[in-house]
Structures are given as C-alpha cells and as structure tokens.
Point group: D4
Chain length 252, copies 8
C-alpha cells in the first residue's frame, strides 16, 4: 500500500465510504506484508528474474540424482528457467525423466532448460582461459552467460607462457564489454589481459595444477595481487559466479 | 503504533475527530519508523540495555585518545554505562577530562563508568587463566563480567603442567554457573577444566607464546579440537566477548 | 570416608573397639581411593548422567560396524542412553542385532536409544541452518538436543543472501533460550542472528563449500571474527558439541 | 604509420617524389615503433586517460617523501591528473612544494590534483563500510571514485550485527549502479548487501580485526565464499582498486 | 620481411618494377604477420625445437587415454618428438594404437617417441634422489633429460641420514655440469650436494612423506631456505621442469 | 687399513718383501675405501645394529607387496632383524612366502621377525594414548620398542577430559624411565603427563580428529607449545620414530 | 603424613596418649593437604629440584625489569637456583639490585644464580649450531644445560652447506651422550648429525632466516620430517626446553 | 697427497731412500688431512674462489656494525674479495674504518671490495624487475653478478600489466645467456619472460605488495607454478642467491 493508496483509504474512511473496521483490516494486512514488501525482498527477486531472465540455480555438488531431479521439476513447474551447475550424467538422466526438454552440457557440467526469453546483454562477454585444463570452468562461465542472454566469445588456451597466442586475439579482447578470465597454476592471465583492455575483468582461479598450486590457492593469490587495478576475483573454480556478475555488468 | 492505537485512530477519523490529512501524516510517520519498530531492532537494543545493564562498548584499539574521549562523552551523555576495551593510560587521561568518574583498570586495559544498576546474574562466573601472561585477557573478561552484574571468581596460574594447582580449586569450579577459561600456548586448560565440571565453558585462546604458537593459533586449534563437548571458543584474546556471552548465560 | 565416618572410627579406636592395626588398614584403603573420591570424578560423572539424562556418546567415525555394535551393547547393558554420532546404515545393522530398540536417523547420521527419562530443558533451542547442504550437521545438533531433553525448533535455509527468509522467522528466534547456528561458505549467519536476539548463540561452521572455503576454514574464521559479542564457536561440523553445550545452557 | 599514410608513401616512391633510401628510413622507423602502435598499448593508455580522466596512480607505500614529490611533479608536468595512494602528511609537504594545488585527504591517505575534466559516470557508486575502523579504506575508494568522475554515496557503520542500520538505507542501495562494500572481521557485509540489490558488488576485505582475523584473511575468505553470486573481491585494503573497477563499470 | 627484403621492394617500386598497389598489399601482409614475426614468437618456438630437440610436452594428468592418444597422434604427424608426462598404462595402450613406435617408461610415468636427432648437451646431468620413494619423480627428470639429448647419471638413495652413501659418489658429482636433486621429507639433500660441488643445482621437492610433510611443503621450504646459494627450486614433483631447465643450462 | 696394517705394509716394502707397485695398488684400494672407514659410517652402522639389536626398518607405505617381500627377504638373508612399518595384510602374505617366521601385528600395521637377541633396555617405556582412535599409532610405538629390547607398559584411553583415568595410573607413570605419549585432537596429554613425572616425554601427535584438527596440525602445535619443558615432539603419526628415540634413551 | 606417622598416631590414640578429637584434627589437616601429597605433585617438585638441581625458571619475555626482579628475589629467598630466560640488560640491572651475585649472559639472554650443588650429568651434552645467527638460542641451551649440572661441548657454525666443518668434529659428536642441534633456515643439520651418531638428538628450529623461512616454520618442518628416527623436536627458538630435556636424559 | 706423489714415496721407500718410519709419518699426516682433501671440501672452496672470483659473503642482517666490520677486516686480510649483503650505512661506516677501499651501494644494500680479477662470464646476465619497488632486490642481484665477473643488463619496471614495456626490450632479452627476473605482487613476470626466450630464467619473488601478497608468498607460489618449464625459483628477496646461481651458469 503506497502513499496515494493510503491517502485515498483514509479519505474514504473520513467520508464514511469505508468504515473503521474494514479500514483496520486492510491496513493490518498491508502492514503484516510490509516488512518484506517495504524492504522489497520478494518483489525485487521477482522483478529481477523477469527483467534479466536470471534462472534459479541449483548447485549439483553433493546432491543425489533424485534430489537434483526433484528440485529441477519444482523449478520448471514454477515456469522458471533451469540451471544446475557442477552436475553429471547420472543427475541428467534423472532430470530428463521429469524435464524432457533439459539439455546437458558435459564440458560445462551443467544442465539447463530455458523457459522464457531473456533481456539481451548490451555487449559481448569474452571468456578467456589459460589452458586446456581450465575448460570445464570456462565452459561453466560461458554457458551461464549465454543462458542469461549474453553474446559470448571464447578465447581458450591463451596462457601467458606463449604470449603471441593472446596478442593475436587483441581485436576480440578490444571488442568485449566485460571479460571473464579463467586460469589455474600461477594465475597470471588476468593481469596481462587487463593491461591490454580498459573494461572490467572478472578473474576465476581454477584448481588446475599440482604441488604448490595448492588446489588453486596460488592462482587465487596471483589474481588478488594483480598489479592491474581493473581485476576482481571470485572463488576458485566459480565459473558460474563470474558469469553471473559479468552478465549483471553487461546488462547495466 | 500498535494495533489498539491504530484502531483508535481510524475510529477517530471515522467519527470526524481527526481529519484524513492529519491521520495521513501520523500514519506515514509511524510507517517510516516501522521497519525497525516492527522488526524491533532499536527497541530490543533499548530494552536489552535496560534489562541487562549491558554497556555500550568502545573498542579502543586503533582510536586516538581524542576519539575515545569524544565517543565516551557521547555515551555518558545518553545515560549509558561506559566500557572501553583495549585502551591505555593516554586514552584514559582524555576520557577523564570529559567523564570525571571514569575508572581505568590498567591490568585489564579497560575504562569503565557505570551509570545505573544492573540486573545481577544468577550464579558465579569463574574466570580461570593458565599462566600469569594471560592475565590481561583474563582481567578484561573479569572486569567486563563484573560490570554486567555478575559475581566473578578469579583462578589464575592454574595451567595443566602443574595439575595440583587446578585440582585444589575444584570446589570453586564446582560452584560456578559458567566458566571462562583463558589460555595461550597449547590451550589445553579448557579441556581439562570442562572434564571436571558440568557447566558451560567459554574458552579464550590468547596470543601468549612464541615460535609455533603463531600468535594464538596453536591455542585456538587446541580449544576447537577439545575432546570435551561442553567447550565453545571465541576469538584470540577476546576476553570481552567471552565475558559478554558468559553474562548472557548467567542471566538466563 | 567422610568426616563423620572418620570421627566415628577414631572414637572407636580411642574406646578400644577397633584396634590400631585394623584402623590403619581401613584408613589406608580409604586414602588410596580418596584422590578420585575426594576429587569426585567418577561420582560427578554418574550424577551428571542421572541429572541431565546425558547419553554416553560414541564417535562412529573410523570404527567398524562390529566395534560400534560391541560398544553400544555395553552401554545399553549398563542402562545408559545410547548415542552414536557420524555413523551409517551398516553400523546400524550391526547395532540393531544387539540393541533391538535402537533408532537410526539417516539425515543426522546418528543412532540412538533412550533408556530413561531426561530432565526437560527450560526453554526452546533453535537450530538454524544457512543452506540445505548444512542439514546433516544441523540434524546432528537437533537430534542430540532432543535426546538430551530439549524442545527444538528448526529453521533451515535461512542464509544471509536472502535476508527476508530469516527476518520472517524473527518470532521464532525471539522465543529461543539458546540458538545453534549452522553455516558453511562465508559463515555469516551467526553474526546476523545474534544481532537480532539477546540470547547465547553457538555457531557451528560446516565444511560445506568449495575452493577457498578450505573445508570449513572460511566459515570458522568468519564466526570467530563475528562483530557480535554473543557468539561462541565449536569445531567444524561439530553439531553434536554445539547441541551438548546448548543443552547445558538450557538446563541451567 | 597507418594504412593511408603507408599507401601515400608508396605512391610517392612510385612517382619518384620520395626516393627508396628515404622511404626505407621512414618505414624502418615506423616499424621500430610499431610493436606498440600495432598492439596499441601506448595509444590505448593515452586514449583511456583522456576518455575516463583516469589519473596516473602512485603507490605511496614504501617511497620517501622526496621520491613521491619527484614522481608527482613529473606527472603534473605531463598535464596528467595526480593520485598518490597510501601516503602521509610528510609526503604531502614534499609534494606541495612542487605541486602547489595538490590536496591531501588525511582520512583516505591520498594526495590528488585534478588537471582536466573527467567523463562523468552514468550512475551512483555507493561505498558501504561495515565499521568505523574500515573508514580509511572506504575513503580511499570514495575519493578515487570521485576523482574518476563518479557520483559517490557513502554508507558507513552499517555492519551486519545491527541489521536495521543497513536496512534503513535500502533506498540508497537501490539507487546505486555499482556498490563497493568495505568490511573487516568476518567480512559478511557484501553477502548481505548483494542479497538486497541486483547490481554488481565489489568487495574489499580490510585488515581490521585482531586474533583470528589474520590481517584480513578471515574477511577475504568470507567474501570469496559469498553465497551471493554477484560479488567479486579485490585485495585486502585495496580501496583504490575497487573504486577503479567500479568506475570502469559505471562508465560503460 | 627483413631489412634487405624491404630495401629491395622499395627499390623495385622506385624503379617501377613493382607498382605502389602491389607493394602496398605485400607490405600490409607482412605487417599483419609482423607482430609475431617481429616479436619472433612463432619463429623462436620453431627454431628452439630444431636447435634443442625439445619435444612437445603433453601433461597427461587429468586427460583420458583417448585425449592423450589424439594429441600424441597430432604431434607425431607434425614430425615432432613426443613426450607425455604423468601418464599411465591405459593411456599408453591408446597411444600405441596410433603411434606404434612409442615407448612407455612405467617408473617415470612417461610416454616418448623421438622423431629426430637432438643436439647433444655439453656435459653430464646428474639426477640425485634422496630415497627410493622419490624414484618416480627422479626418473621423470632423467628420462626427460635423456630425451633432450643429455648424458644422464643417476644417483639414487643418497639421503642425508646416511652421508657415506652420498660422499662415496663425490667423483660422479664432481663430473657433472648441472645437478638435479630430488628429495621429499625434509628436503635437505640439495643443500648438502651443493656444498660439495660448484655447479648449478636444480632442486625438486617431492610429495613423499606423511604428517607434517604436508604433501611436499616441508621439502619445498627446506630447499627455498637452503643455506647454499647455488640452489634453485621448481614445483613439487616437477621432475620434468627441472630436467628441462637443466638441459637448457647443459646446452649453453 | 688401520695404523698397524699400514706400518706393517711399509716395513714390508722397506724390506723388499712387497714391491712398490703392489704396495701402491693396495694403498690406493684402501684409500678409496677409506673415506667411509675413516669417517666410520658403515662401521658405525654395523656396530650399532649389533649393540642395540636395532632392526633394519622398511617403510611399507607406498610399496607393493612384492617390493616389501623382496626387501624383507634381503634383510633376513643378511641375518638382520626385520621391521616393516605402515604395512598391511597383503604385504604380509607376500612376506610370509619368503620369510616363513615373520609375524604381522594388524593393530600396529607392522611385520617383524627378530633374528637375534637384543640388549635389554634399562627401564620401562610407558606408551600412553589419549583415545581409542590413537591405538594404531600407539601400537606401532609399543611393538617397535619391544622389538628393540624394551619393557613396555601400555596406558590407553587416558585423555585429559577424564583426568581420573590418568591420575589413577600415576604409579605406572612414576615407574617409567621414558614415556611416549600419543594423542590427536587438541594434543594436551603430553603436557599433563610431563607435569606428573620427571622423565623425558616423547610426544606423538596423531591425525585423529576432524574439522580444525587439520590432519594432526592442532595436536602437533599443542605439543610444540607445551608449557612443560620436558616434552619433545616427532612427526604426526610417527609412532615408530618416538619408540626408536625412547629406546635409545632407555639404553643409555 | 606418611605411613609410619599415620601408624604411630593411631597407636597413640589406641594407647590413649592422644585423644580422638586431637587425632581427628591432625588427620583432617593432613588430609586437606593430601590431595597433592597423595598425588605427589608438590613433593615430586621438591625432590626433583634437590636431586637435579633444576632451577626455577622465569620466562623474561614480556615482563618488566621490576617484575623480573621481584620474582627473582622471591626465588632466591626460597634458596632456589635462579634462571631467567629471554631477558635483557635492563632486567639484569633490576635483578642485581636485589640479587647481588646474579650473572647475566648477554649472548644467551639469561640471568642465573646457582644456590646449591647440582647432581652432575653422566655424560657430555653437545650443543651444535648451524650458523652464527643461531648462537643466541644455542647459548640459551648451553648455559641452561651447564646450570643443570651437565658437561657441555659447543660445536658452532657447522651447517650442512660446508660438510667438512661438521665431519671434522666427528670425535666430539661420538663422545656425546645426547646432542642438542640448533638450526634455522632449512633445518637440515639434525638429520645429518643423527646419521653420524647413535645417541638421542634434540632438535631446536630457530627463527633465523628470511622470506620463506616464515619465522622458523621451514626449519621446524624440516626437523619434524627428518629421515632419521632418532630426532625429536621442540618449539622454535626453545633452547631452554631442549637443554632441560637433554639434561633429564643425561641424568637418567 | 695425490697419486704420483704416493707412487714416488713408495718407490723411495722401496729404494731405501726413505725409511718405513718416516714414510709412515708422512702418510699418516696426509691421511689425517685427507677426509677433507679427499672429499675436496677446502680445496674445492679455494679453487672455486680463484677460478670464479667468488667473494666471501657476509649476510649483514642481524649483525651489529662492529661485527660486520670485524668479519670484513678478516676477509680482506685473507686477500679475498668482500661482499656484505643486506647491510646499511651504519655498518658501512664501521667497515670503512678498517677497509678503506670498500664501496657501499645503498640501493642494493651491499658493501663490496674486489681484491683480485675475476674470470669473466661468457655472456650477459639480464636482471629484469617488475616494478620500481623491486629495485633493491634487483640491485642486490645486479651488483652481485657484476662482482662475480658478469656483464649485466638491467631491465626495470617491465611488469606484465603494461606488456609493451617488456616487449620493446625483446632484443635485450634475446641477447641474454641467463635471466634473473625479480617480481613481487602476483609474480607473473618470470612466466612471461621465459615464454619469450630460450635461456634459463632464475625467478626471485619479492616481499613487495600488501594484503594477500603475504610478504611474498603470492609471488613465490606464482613462480613455482609457472606454466613455463624453464623457470626455477629462489627464496623471497634473495637477489644474491639468484645472481650467484646465474653467474655459475654464465661461467659454465
């Protein structure tokens, strides 16, 4: 109940068109809903989904195929777009039994089913990956970004130890509105990329490596300490989160 | 504006005793305040202070004497009890200039001034410390607990390498309603104490030690891994937090 | 041998009813037993079990089904309440062969069999969990608390990234006497919950997460550094310990 | 030497207006410069400065006042806007001797002098800080963002242990185009903020805290593990970097 | 297009032998290729392979047998020498189906096939290993070095707790041009070896050990802190990298 | 070649009984062997084995059954006592095929076969363990100590959370000449034990625990920071090493 | 009250020489003292001091000169030998004012005053140090061992990068009954030393080093992972603890 | 005593020119010296100094000016070249009093005095540094390399966030025989440099940075995880060690 509505109600009471009791009931109801309506949590959530086509996201990790399928069915029944991350073939078999149109992208380890149109992003999101071992995380990012309505360009295997591969893709980098950079090992690629462009760079460390890579810590620290100021970092292997944020930026 | 007040206002509007415009103003004001009133944040804060005599707390660490004094003056002007932790002599000189009655406890590194009576705790809080080097943290805990209305018993220098000192204090431990145990180095005292009693034990690791104590990490890990299930842990050197929680428990 | 007994013995010696040699033997025996009797370890253990209905606890982790069953049978033979934590279906099959009435709670991974009435706790323990992945730890806490005689309210999936879910449960939080908060990932829920209430909060970090969650370290550090002073922390995934401590507090 | 220039030169050679030797010299010179021209490093740098008004940045940390002053003078002589971060009063005295118009913001520990107009950002950047101890980092961010042409709103002391302070600022948050969130201790504020809005959140962990905060590691891990997917993180205390990235986003 | 070629072209244009348009096309093409030609990336790569016989290297870790085989076939088709590291029997079966002449060294976990002669190294590379558990890493180093054209001497089981084993091999050490030292546990061998010789020592920590060896961290730190200044370190278990570097040095 | 032998040889040359050429050959041979003879490495090893009955030790971890059996056969052929640690049933089957008399202690995970008498230790070695989960490491220590000729007393399940269990064993502790204390979780037992006795305490942290025990780091740090000065520590789970050192001390 | 005294008292009561009341008082007093007498804590402490001449130890770290002096005076008044570790010149000035005979060893940073004869150790304790920077810790060990009645041999600057320095001291090592080895940086010296002898080696990591020595962690890990089984480790820089333990062993 | 000398002596004995007794004395003396002579420790040290002009090195860190001066004087008296690292102006004043010709390089924090000619290195050593803050470590490397007889080229401020600066120096890199790369923060420069050349790269992480650089750990891990196989790493800030190793390689 916004200000004009409140004003109108009170005038109706004042004019005797609505009696005090009925007004009390309507006001009480509005107030009970208000903590969230006023704070706008549920509404904002709803609006955001409509405006950006952002899907409900299910983290598949540690859930049984049956659990994933049950949640997926519920989401699709509500008419929402489906996105399951960090999932597998077995879960997909279970999901397909209840959501026939679902698609499984094995290289990204995600299951998706888009139920309605999304607002297209304004520019291109480049997803750059340092090595072939980083592809799974990179594909999670690329598929997520595409599902959210973004044009995506993939630049894979452009690690810093062979700079010419990266430098030859300068036009692609220059055309991006936001860049997601995925790298394991020493995690140097985001620093180098961000030195070549003037757009935001979202860096994703991966757990690729061995020994002193410590499951991605080396890459994470490298990215946090980037000497370039236009780099921000998400969690290790969090391709989904990087793409989500990149999509937010690309829809501004 | 609670339900009876709302009902009454609407009836007054209905009877023409209050016109729509005035009612609108009053309702709008009440609604603007409501998010917190309804959620009860500010009110609860206020009630809690009255009920438990819990003082406003100023973390002195990293503030200049002038800043501490300014905040202290503001708190005392509001009629609240003053508690400044991790402070020093210089800050006390500045505080004393504006709050004459303030007291400085050098061994606890706190400044206090109690402005009103507190609800007394129901039992005794024992503050046990393993070594003489842990006394500063232990005193921060003990003074905080006293300020919050609790009876406090101090058991200092009862480390586990000389068990007889601890065992001779069994009656004191047995009489406690909640025990705060402060220890650095290997942090074993909470495990031993909690094996001797059946009341909650709040463990405070201290940064006392050298080498592989790593500024309190060894003690912290020792306490988190206690083989006794009645131990919970607060941050390293956080005597204030332990006492605050112990006081909550002692006032239940 | 307590004071009146000692007095009586000495009088008997004085009156010649007991000769010095016999008295010496009896006193020596009493003194040999005394360190524990005087210190009261075993007795206290016994009293505590009777008074609080606290079960003997078996950590199932790393024990074979046969071992768990053997220990369970021994406990039940002594007439004690049985609680096995971190166990599984296979161990339950073995236990059921020797303790027919035992119950297995798969979602909590515990086996229990209550043999006698417990003293009821004085208020309600709320067990709040941030995400659905934290449920196993939360259920370990909830089932343990119930077994120890507490009224338990569960608030699951109330993570801080969707505050309205938590805020809508304010009345439940307000009615609690002590709150156990279970959270993985960034572990922010205890700070937020403790800001809404004035009762003790026991925080349980979980190993839920990936990448830089480091098996629960991120959540653990988040909780230890809580800006709210009414939070204490137990070991990662230690739902049992949190519930045990909460029950102690709730029985004060 | 761009394409038309090259074409023209070759035609001149063809027409005999320029002889082969002179053409060779000119081409060789152009080619020697080319690696950067073709790759566009220097040009882009130059264009970026003009387009975004981005200042040259001097990290004051570990430089003597004389060094800072010398670098500052050189920058100003080139006509560029000056920004020195992590500096102090002594350095400012030295800078003022050579750059009279420079300003020192003590609370942000930065020295600035803007030499030309900047392209204004498209929306508002909110800089939110959890506690009063985070202000220095927050001010570094706010001043940097302002210098780069952005409208900045400051929301300070809105930590999660007193949610009402944050919730009452929802309209300000809702009006932001990008939000920089600065927090130490448990670092929970970015998760909570990002749950209330649908714009990018750049999180800055601070080294504020003690004990198990480990100089900002606790906050850093908390932010990396945010359960909200619209959060990216920069280095501990890196207010400048967060603001730079936020400004890039706000100028898209 | 190098300097004489450019000079010649321009003279041809000057003499009318090539018209401006054709010259423009040829120059433009040369310039487009130039960033890499000028920077020499691809060329250097090519030259390096020819000069040093350096094989293309495939990190087998985390690739399926089919993937390894496909990459191996492509490499061999290009006429390059094949080296697959961190691989296994199953991958070898797949490789053998497409590269009949390939050899699998089970103790080094590598697959190789040398297609052309390599430039021999100038001296001997000694590969010393502390314990029998370090052999797999040591063999990866030794086989790699041999494949790259180096004479290799193996000194295995010469750990520092039985110095006489090492000291008896002094002549072998003295004859080396560069030494690769492989050690797990405390990682002390490189320090001791480098004290006995005056040639470069490349240290390889291994993940051999348990408990506080932390997967090779103890050995890594031991080597980085070597009190001998002629030791440099590569990643944990990185026998290939150490051998590659040793071969570079041995070919200088 | 010792001094009298050298003297004799030179006299023989002097007397013409041995010609210079033959003498040169013999001296050269002796000198080549000498570095170890002079330094006494191999000899000392041999003497030590005879004097202390110290067995050759095979670390079973990471060796195949066939490898363990081959090494065991070689050791037994040399007449030495056999000790294989961290081994298993499968390895034992292989060993038994070549060393019929070998014994496998499943609870200690060791295989032994004593071939000759050992010098008995001078006193008793107590092996104390905090919990039932530490038994495997404790048994590795106890069996090793027994094999080396020591009288061993086992005190198991005497953790610090139930002090009376430990205190009731004071006479056993008092009778020890050296004590090995095995504990996981918080690792507090060595501190408490060493406070009760005046003999050396060798502490063995175990990897028993979960969450913040970090595979034994918590116990390790606890022991290194012991407030008692008579405690020294070996690697996590290193029962063998502790027993070896205790035996050395007990044979002094 | 020991057994004969008790027997005598009871006989006196039996004979009427002491009445029941007086006997009760005397027995009760003895029993009140008994928990420690029975457990033997105080008595053992006393006996140990007499038997081993072990001094009371004051950790000077973090105490003011006045505090150190006050404690020192109290110890000397009790007739005990004085040992203050990690102290300085200023503290010594204060101590000398109350304990004229005290001596300050600047290189060991300790103050001592021996008040009575000590039981001599049975053999020699060698204190070996890797580098000149480790001397302070080594001297703390050496002086402590001497004060406790041991013959001490110092072997300084015998680091593993120049093995000949260590090997030339083999006779000294061979003559030791127990060896304390002090080393920073990579901490390899204990492994090498223990391979040359058959006596217990107590290893002391020092905080000497920089960069990846991490204040002694590298040396600590190196020592814990020693491939030699006769090494046990104490805390970083804990020369006192190593010497105390070595003295216990040397007095067995 | 080498082989010809021995042969000659024995022939002299055989011919009666030297009697057995005298021969015995001379042989015994030679043998007593032999452990080092045979092992060649001292000789090699001596030869190495002569051959490579390698100076005696004094680590100034933690030594008083008087100590540094005393050591420096001793070295110069022996006729050796002097090199003091990590020193300061005060130490230089003390050194100059005893070694008049000594030179202090403030930017490298080293004192040197070359006493004799050095064997020149065969090629150029390039010392590349990422940022201006790394200069002190880079200069330590450069000055050390020069003192050891190497031609040194400095490439400073060529960090990866502005690639063109590095790429423009490709000819310099290409002309190097070995490259020392100094970098803090993310430590990416060695990977990029080694991708551009085919010579050994010695990487030196520096402690430059703040927050999550953790005193150089981020750079260290980045370098250890380099995706380029021709990179080896030395300790944080160890410019001296890198230069020493580079000089060894350059003199091969």
């Amino acid at each position: 109940m916004n200000t004009p509505e409140l004003q109108r109600l009170l005038e109706q009471v004042s004019r005797g068109e609505v009696d005090a009791e009925a007004a009390h009931v309507r006001l009480t109801e509005a107030l009970r809903a208000r903590p969230f309506e006023d704070l706008g949590f549920a509404r904002v959530d709803h609006h955001r989904a409509i405006r950006q086509g952002f899907p409900e996201v299910v983290l598949g990790l540690g859930k049984t195929p049956a659990q994933v399928a049950a949640i997926a069915a519920a989401i699709v029944r509500r008419g929402s777009t489906l996105l399951v991350t960090r999932t597998n073939e077995a879960a997909f078999d279970a999901v397909r039994a209840v959501v026939k149109e679902a698609t499984y992208y094995a290289d990204a380890a995600i299951i998706t089913f888009r139920q309605h149109d999304v607002v297209p992003g304004k520019g291109t999101i480049v997803v750059a990956a340092a090595g072939t071992s980083d592809l799974s995380v990179a594909e999670e990012a690329a598929r997520t970004a595409e599902l959210m309505g973004n044009q995506v360009e993939r630049l894979y295997d452009v690690g810093v130890a062979g700079l010419h591969r990266l430098l030859s893709e300068q036009p692609t980098l220059a055309a991006a509105r936001v860049i997601v950079v995925v790298a394991g090992m020493e995690g140097a690629l985001p620093s180098v990329v961000s030195g070549l462009v003037s757009v935001p760079v979202i860096a994703v460390p991966t757990s690729v490596g061995y020994g002193a890579s410590f499951g991605g810590i080396a890459a994470l620290l490298g990215m946090l300490n980037s000497c370039s100021p236009s780099v921000a970092v998400v969690n290790i292997d969090n391709g989904f989160g990087a793409a989500y944020l990149a999509s937010l930026i690309n829809h501004l």
